[in-house]
Symmetry: C2
Subunit: 173 residues, 2 copies
Amino acid sequence: MIDLPTHRVVIMSAMTIDSTAAADRVATGSERLWATTVGGDLSFLLARANAVSLASVTGALAELGLKVRSYSVLAVAANGVRPSQRELSEFLRLDPSQIVALVDDLEARKLVRRVTDPSDRRSKVVVVTAEGLRTFERAREVAIDAEHDLFEGFTADEREQLRDLLRTLAAER
Amino acid sequence: MIDLPTHRVVIMSAMTIDSTAAADRVATGSERLWATTVGGDLSFLLARANAVSLASVTGALAELGLKVRSYSVLAVAANGVRPSQRELSEFLRLDPSQIVALVDDLEARKLVRRVTDPSDRRSKVVVVTAEGLRTFERAREVAIDAEHDLFEGFTADEREQLRDLLRTLAAER
DNA sequence: TATTGTTATACTCTATAACTATA
DNA sequence: TATAGTTATAGAGTATAACAATA
């Protein structure tokens, strides 16, 4: 697993740091910069929050030979929704050619199979194998653990709020 | 500018889409997949929301020859906080060598200068030039416009909530 | 010895266009 | 003629290690 913060640190706009034992776990040396205009930009905060989360999940999944992307493809397939590659491409916002590479990899490892859709033979549906399902279940556990650590400082309410707000944003174009 | 959604679309867990004129602006064809486990993952939502925001800001800044990263460096410098490259590296979560490349580019375009810190001659501080400040101000406008469009469907309260939650997360190691 | 910035290099990711097979 | 998937390839971004100057 990756190193994760154990306590929540709140940084106010005015640059006051709520000083707990965790205060020095924040990126050292660059605290001054949070007072900057970018420090308040939603797009910047989104990018940085994502970088933090990505690093944590990536680290957690590495032990299973998965990356965030292959995990996402596997997870959608494991839900039994039988996504076409085109659907995966839109949902994950990746180019169709990148989906090919991801599915190639998962298929070579026998975690998923490509099934030609009989009602439209151009389209290929990605289905999980028994082994893929087992791998997914383990992967899901470590991913949830990582997320849990990451959101340790948040209340259940705050997590729900964040989920709703992000869902709205994520659903945009 | 980039094409942006004009209305907010809420996607519920149960897969009901609040159907307004904007409903068909949502990624077509993959609505089913939102009902999936990943569709509720905070890390996934964060990644997708970031992708959406990134695309919008990237598109907006392109007309000024800036990317999100060079814009961030320029913005911090333009705030007059005199960041060292090391500080930029921590704040932006980029490798020091990447900061070198970004500052090289901005310096070649005379938007910033490197100034050796007299109190520690190893360290170089990035300061904005007059021209850099002008460029930053225009860039800031288009970036704010893009952000404004992106968060059009949000109330002021929701934006504040999101900012607070993301700030907490972004400040984590 | 440790740290800041720099260079070099290999690797991954991303974007684009062309091709095939089906519709 | 249009769409789903595939291939190839060039470009951008990323990670790593080694090095010079300074502390």
